[in-house]
């Protein structure tokens, strides 16, 4: 393996191997199984399996669990594991997509202001007490979702009008400006309503603590729809790595692709942020780790980012709820705390370039 191979953008020999894909699937299932079987309540693995089987239509199994334990398995652990997996997959895929369309290794899902917009939306809902805490359909996720999309939309139009050549750089700068502007408003509102500071702070650090099926059903369609769109464009994204002019000469319309990708990744990010708050770092470290370990073609990075993003998030959430059990560590803290050293390790030990 020669280090300069991956510099060739259109590296045809970089194929997605079936074993890697299977490895990703196995990692998700393994981490999910471990996560399902651990928690403050002492429930045997057998009972958990029977309980889950019993819940499927047409299947009968007797888990002999008490009502409370049965609820812990079905209403608490399982939705939390599934939601964690969906959020991780979504954020990692969105991050990888942003990195591809902007040809910028520092791009993350919050690049175009999604985090700031979601933060402002959630803060507004929390400060005005619009929510009733009823979960997925509540005002907080709704406003976070709208805020994230609105922020990206503003960024997109600002970035376009400033520069007729529509360079990705102007879009990124617009994102920085919009994010600081919205954060300023959010901070001001928060300052005027000091009593909600802890709630907003908790939201910003990310949460899977109160995950339920409601959140899963809210996120699932966005996660599925957008990942299909992104994955179907993986080859075009590879071509775009050459640069806009080169891609155009190969018959691709870079602006159009970028627009579709940005809309898809932003929708996915907004939905993830709405149900789980701002979970940082996943969108950067997972795709880069994949690039360093397996290769930088988007045909590899995009699907593997999804799978390993899911298993990473489930694992991190498991730590968050077990390390100091029975209390919680906010998930956003652990993603960075565990993710950063691991990423630096991979960065230093890999001979590939980003």
């Amino acid at each position: 393996m020669q280090p300069d191979k991956s510099h060739t953008a259109l590296a045809n020999y970089e194929r997605l191997r079936l074993t890697w894909l299977l490895g990703g699937v196995v990692s998700v299932l393994a981490v999910a199984a471990i996560s399902l079987s651990l928690g403050p309540a002492n429930i045997s693995v057998n009972s958990i399996i029977f309980e889950i089987i019993d819940r499927f239509p047409l299947l009968e199994a007797n888990s002999n669990l008490s009502e409370i334990h049965s609820n812990i398995v079905w209403e608490v652990r399982l939705p939390r594991v599934i939601l964690g997996g969906l959020v991780g997959a979504t954020l990692a895929l969105s991050g990888a997509t942003y990195q591809a369309v902007f040809r910028n290794p520092l791009a993350d899902p919050y690049l175009l202001g999604a985090a700031a917009g979601a933060g402002l939306g959630a803060t507004l809902a929390l400060v005005n007490r619009w929510g009733d805490g009823s979960g997925a359909g509540d005002a907080v996720p709704l406003l976070a979702f709208c805020g994230a999309l609105l922020a990206v939309a503003i960024t997109y139009f600002m970035g376009l009008t400033g520069d007729s050549s529509r360079s990705p750089a102007s879009l990124l700068l617009a994102g920085v400006a919009v994010a600081s502007f919205l954060t300023a408003i959010q901070t001001f509102i928060l300052q005027q309503n000091a009593d909600t500071i802890r709630q907003v702070y908790t939201w910003i650090l990310g949460r899977l603590n109160t995950a339920s099926w409601g959140e899963v059903w809210l996120l699932l369609p966005y996660a599925l729809g957008t990942s299909c769109v992104i994955l179907l464009n993986r080859r075009i994204l590879d071509v775009m790595r050459l640069g806009d002019a080169e891609a155009a000469s190969l018959g691709i319309r870079p602006d159009r692709t970028r627009k579709i990708m940005v809309v898809a990744a932003s929708l996915a990010t907004a939905a993830a942020v709405a149900v789980s708050g701002l979970i940082s770092f996943v969108g950067i470290i997972v795709p880069h780790t994949i690039r360093l370990l397996f290769g930088s073609s988007n045909r590899i990075v995009l699907p593997l980012s999804m799978l390993f993003g899911a298993s990473f998030m489930i694992a991190v959430d498991l730590l968050g709820r077990t390390v100091v059990s029975p209390s919680e560590i906010p998930i956003g803290v652990i993603t960075s705390f565990c993710g950063a050293p691991f990423f630096i390790f991979v960065l230093r030990s890999s001979r590939r370039s980003i």
Partner: protein, 303 residues
Amino acid sequence: MFSSCGGEESITADEATADTQAPVIEEPSDDNKLVTLEADEEVPAGPQSIVSLSPTATEMLFAIGAGSQVVAVDNYSYYPKEAPVIEDLSAWSPNIEAIAEFEPDLVVLSDAGVQEELESLGIEVLVLPAVTNLDGVYEQIAELGVATANVDGAGVLVASMRAEISLIIDNIVTPEKPLTYFHELDDTLYSITSGTFIGQIYEMVGLSNIADPADADGSAYGYPQLTQEFILESDPDLIFFVDASCCGQSVEIIGERPGWDVLKAVRNGTVIEMNADIASRWGPRLVQFLQSLSDAVALVPAG
């Protein structure tokens, strides 16, 4: 601007004839003021324009009879309702000029953040930080009594609080095995341990806190975030929630949370809303808080 002694006197003006012996300490500027000074049995001494930037201190000031000496309170000091709330006066980010504008002769703070700045303007400052136990409450009330020249009022308040609280505690019938409770601060399941001030109040009535193991080493300063699974597993006898006003929670919404329907507290109707202000302050209304605890314990079915 607010005149320093306007308004509050009108109530007592009718009693003007009752007592004419009280010494006059101020030159009368108009007839009404003179009348009111005479009307009070006690001559107002001590500070006459108090600014309180602590909701707890505001409650205490009014309860010891210093209310008429208070000219301005911060935007969260909305109890009692006579308190002169100034919407722009923030205790969270205090503005020295905004405080100084009231020309206070005493400012009560709950943290020492702007103490030095105020003192450099020659303003008397009393800092009454959050207390750790009930004795701390009594001490602060007494301190306020001294600082505002309402020593008697403070003494009466402390005595009545002590009496009422011991009456409530004597009348509580607690089962042999202590009842367990979960105190919900917000809908992300932050709670308190028995090490906190309010946790000690629960302990006084013999309740056992499910959150204690969650912060055994004190690293969360008594405010751990519980996992949902742990709450279900603990299945507390009582759930007290203070997040009705912050987070729109209600008995119904808590009962409808996924998986919570089978909890003892939900089935027995012992999910109880508590006043968030009382539970987060350390003021005279703690008596009401204890009374609600006592009522709640009575709701728990025996056995």
